[in-house]
């Protein structure tokens, strides 16, 4: 029994180093030149990446368990808080650190920052995400969730001069906080029922208790907060508002990892605490239904956008739907697929957001229609945009394509033929929308789209820098790193295999408790099936890429076709505009949808369980 290895110190350090740096920055930031602030913040992010990487390396043989305040358990019981780093958790922390590093490098030439507030907030945001990924305690998860949230609201509204910015931040703040309070209600219920707060400890009690309404509702309420963060339909409304207005480096963190941490939270809580009592078939069906809905709504809304950051935000919603579907297979292969997909998506989508930031810096707008043909001279930006767009649409050998292939395979193995269809369709639609926007902006293809008053245009977006005639080297470096990362994770199999084995550990309910509470060493695990490139995977990836190009072309030249087919497509157009009207930017609507969503989730999970 060993809770005191040197590696055990890594997890708390990865959480508090950014906190200490943020405090230092706040205190002395006003006297430091901007360059030094940048160096300090970037250096801290790099140090955190180093700690996370060391932690990730140590999780090869099992989980790294840390009992904070040294309250190591006796006979599996403790009053303390445990941090449990496994492959998936420490991988998420590592990804958060790496994205933060890229975002901070990108922002070297960004913002005329007021003192060091922006940097301090970003570092606290990193601390919150790291803690959420590493903790093994349900209430501690809530606290880290709130840290992530509070800092994120402030970061979203950071451009206070921008009218839409503060409104998006407020919508985000109210909906997300309300979700968090529902989570806390769930925690209260489960605490009353089990008398425990640790994930593993609660799981141990639930393993031995009968299934009743309380457990079902507690599960639904607990995951509601995480699902609001994950932007699952119908909890997703805040996401597009917040992404459309947040500063570009912040969008990278939101789309690249924060939203994914919501998905992580759902499955972490399911596997460690509820998987011994809630039947997997039931949970799988419920999550698949909502995951498919999320993917479809996100993809359709994405296609209808002209505000570049909003377009990317809806594509994130669509991809979250796919992550949920993959992980909802509730087996190791599907979980591995989701993990690889998240990794690849983080690279491609973050690069696209940064490119949108570059476009904003250069042309003072992120509106696809306004920018028509404006980007003809920006060769490097155009090439990177196209590559990232193709990666998003599932072109092999990018990691997005590999993750998609593994997910499709896992869903097929469970008999869900709809899996591959959905994955290909969503990749084609979202990738197509991105490529269409790119073709308009950089190549000037297609006619200039007509004005549409109903839509959020990207013209009011406030510049975040001085006007930049050329892309600075630091921005270029951040973007190239992200795209390259997406490629490397797709072709360098040790990374995928590490995540695959990690997924097997992630879904090991008993093993988690044994190691966290009793210090027993983890079993060695085999690689899940189907996590390498297959002919089918490559073929489906190529299919979605070709379809994406087709979608882009249709988007550019469809005006005539659409008019011709107007009568045939009329019902679809009505659905589309109805769907668009639901995204009203009204916080009252959003809260109403939270209630509907909770009811729907509870019905999906609970009704089939009634005897």
């Amino acid at each position: 029994m060993n809770f005191h290895s040197g590696a055990a110190q890594l997890a708390p350090l990865a959480i508090v180093i950014p906190i200490i740096a943020a405090a230092v920055l706040l205190s002395v930031g006003r006297w430091l030149p901007r360059t030094l602030i940048d160096v300090l913040a970037t250096g801290t992010a790099a140090a955190t990446v180093g700690l996370d990487a060391a932690l990730f390396a140590h999780t090869a043989g099992g989980r790294v368990v840390t009992w904070a305040s040294n309250w190591t358990p006796k006979h599996g019981h403790s009053v303390g808080i445990v941090l449990v780093a496994d492959r998936v958790g420490s991988g998420a922390a590592l990804l958060a650190g790496a994205l933060m590093l890229c975002a901070l490098v990108f922002s070297w030439r960004y913002f005329d920052s007021v003192e060091a507030h922006f940097h301090a907030l970003m570092l606290l945001f990193l601390a919150g995400m790291t803690g959420f990924a590493l903790t093994g305690d349900l209430f501690d998860m809530f606290v880290f969730f709130e840290l992530m949230g509070a800092v994120a609201y402030a970061l979203t509204g950071f451009k206070v001069e921008d009218p839409t910015s503060v409104q998006g931040a407020l919508n985000f703040g109210i909906v997300n906080s309300f979700g968090a309070y529902l989570t806390l209600m769930g925690i209260g219920l489960i605490y009353a029922h089990t008398g425990q707060l640790g994930l593993a400890q609660i799981g141990q009690v639930l393993d031995r208790s009968p299934l009743d309404a309380l457990v079902v509702i507690a599960f639904v309420l607990v995951v509601t907060g995480w699902l609001v963060k994950a932007a699952m339909v119908p909890f997703h409304f805040w996401l597009a508002d917040a992404h459309a207005v947040a500063p570009t480096p912040v969008c990278v963190m939101f789309s690249g990892i924060m939203v994914e941490l919501g998905v992580y939270g759902v499955f972490r809580v399911y596997w460690t605490t509820f998987s011994g009592i809630l039947p997997p078939d039931d949970i799988r069906r419920a999550l698949l239904v909502l995951g498919i809905l999320t993917a479809v709504v996100g993809a359709v809304m994405c296609l209808m956008q002209r505000h570049l950051k909003r377009l990317l935000a809806y594509s994130t919603i669509a991809h979250v739907g796919l992550f949920i579907c993959a992980a909802a297979t509730l087996d190791d292969s599907g979980t591995a697929g989701a993990a690889v997909y998240v990794l690849g998506h983080a690279g491609a989508k973050s690069a696209l957001f940064l490119l949108a930031g570059v476009i904003l810096a250069r042309y003072g707008s992120v509106d696809e229609a306004t920018l028509h043909g404006k980007g003809r001279d920006a060769k490097a930006t155009a090439v990177l945009f196209a590559v990232a767009g193709l990666a998003l649409s599932g072109l092999p050998p990018f990691a997005t394509s590999l993750g998609k292939a593994i997910g499709e395979d896992a869903l097929l193995a469970r008999g869900y033929w709809i899996g591959p269809v959905l994955f290909v369709a969503v990749s084609a639609l979202t990738g197509g929308a991105v490529l269409r926007a790119g073709a308009r902006i950089f190549l000037g293809l297609g006619p200039v789209p007509a004005e549409d008053q109903q839509q959020t245009s990207g013209d009011q977006e406030e510049r975040e820098t001085q006007s930049l005639p050329r892309m600075p080297a630091t921005m270029m470096l951040a973007i190239v790193t992200l795209v390259a990362g997406c490629l490397v994770c797709g072709i360098y199999s040790p990374i995928t295999h590490a995540l695959g084995r990690g997924a097997t550990r992630f879904v090991d309910h008993a093993g988690y408790a044994q190691q966290a509470l009793f210090g027993r060493a983890a079993h060695s695990v085999a690689l899940p099936t189907g996590i390498d490139w297959t002919t089918l995977g490559v073929a489906l990836g190529l299919t979605s890429t070709v379809l994406a190009l087709l979608v882009a072309a249709l988007g550019l030249y469809a005006e005539k076709i659409r008019r011709a087919a107007e009568r045939v497509l009329d019902p679809f157009a009505m659905v589309g505009s109805g769907l668009r009207r639901l995204h009203s930017g009204h916080v009252g609507d959003y809260i109403t949808w939270v209630f509907i969503g909770v009811t729907a989730l509870a019905a999906l999970v609970g009704i089939p369980l009634r005897q």
Partner: protein, 256 residues
């Protein structure tokens, strides 16, 4: 969505969630029961570490990590609110607006209550491990108490007593202090945030190890943070005027 549609949908959602919650609540142990497994472990643990106030022991010792993060939430929110409330380009300071006559009794009440509140605040912080209260409660009392000066009608006095920059440092030092004391736990003992000092005798001033120190640090952090936060809100409400002229667009007729 129209208002009517929203209300209908909301009604549906409220009924749905209400029914779910009621079903769950009916399965709870009845109110006031003796089923508290965590309590059964936490109270002996608090006593073993010499903390006469079991709540404070849980807050700073057993579940100290939660409290660290909670303080960081406060820290981050204060930075966030300060950043969000920074004066924008079209605003400028224009001295405190006249607040009207403050009644003499009110003014007197403010001046009398101020020292009392501050003493209570310090007492609540320093005895947090023994009696109800602690760094957080005491910090809020101290910070809010200081603003009784405003009730006393003296914004100038408040402004002098409240060098905001200094309190920003206090806040940062408090936040960093908590985190760094945690690292000291790694260096001296086995784990982050370990309560590494001697536990003393239950009920004594110097007991419960690091708990009183953390309490004091949190007191500094919370008092400073709340002062900075309130200062920013006061600046907005009292000092900053909105220069409407500078942003108003000239009407077509005026251009001639």
């Amino acid at each position: 969505m129209s208002r009517t549609a929203r209300m209908w949908l909301l009604g549906l959602g409220l009924i749905g969630v209400g029914v779910c919650y009621a079903l769950a609540a009916l399965d709870l142990p009845s109110f006031g029961s003796t089923f508290h497994p965590y309590r059964d472990m936490a109270v002996p643990a608090a006593v073993a570490h010499g903390a006469a106030n079991a709540v404070t022991s849980i807050v700073f010792d057993q579940r100290g990590l939660d409290t660290l993060v909670e303080e960081i939430i406060l820290f981050g929110s204060v930075i966030g609110a300060v950043a969000l409330l920074r004066p924008s380009r079209e605003e400028q300071e224009h001295g405190p607006s006249p607040m009207g006559r403050v009644l003499e009794p009110t003014r007197l009440l403010g001046y009398v209550m101020l020292p009392t509140t501050l003493v209570i605040g310090v007492d609540v912080v320093t005895h947090g491990h023994l009696t109800p209260g602690g760094g957080f409660q005491g910090g809020v009392i101290l910070a809010t108490g200081l603003h009784l000066l405003y009730v006393a009608g003296s914004y100038q006095a408040l402004d002098r007593l409240r060098p905001v920059a200094l309190f920003e440092h206090g806040e940062a030092i408090g936040a960093a202090g908590f985190a760094i004391l945690g690292i000291a736990g790694i260096l001296t003992s086995a784990a982050y945030l370990t309560n590494m000092l001697s536990y003393g005798t239950l009920g004594q001033m110097f007991s419960a190890g690091t708990v009183p120190i953390l309490n004091a640090i949190v007191g500094v952090e919370v008092a400073s943070g709340v002062i900075v936060l309130l200062a920013r809100f006061f600046d907005q409400a009292v000092l900053l005027g909105h220069q409407r002229e500078s942003i108003s667009v000239p009407q077509p007729g005026e251009l001639r």
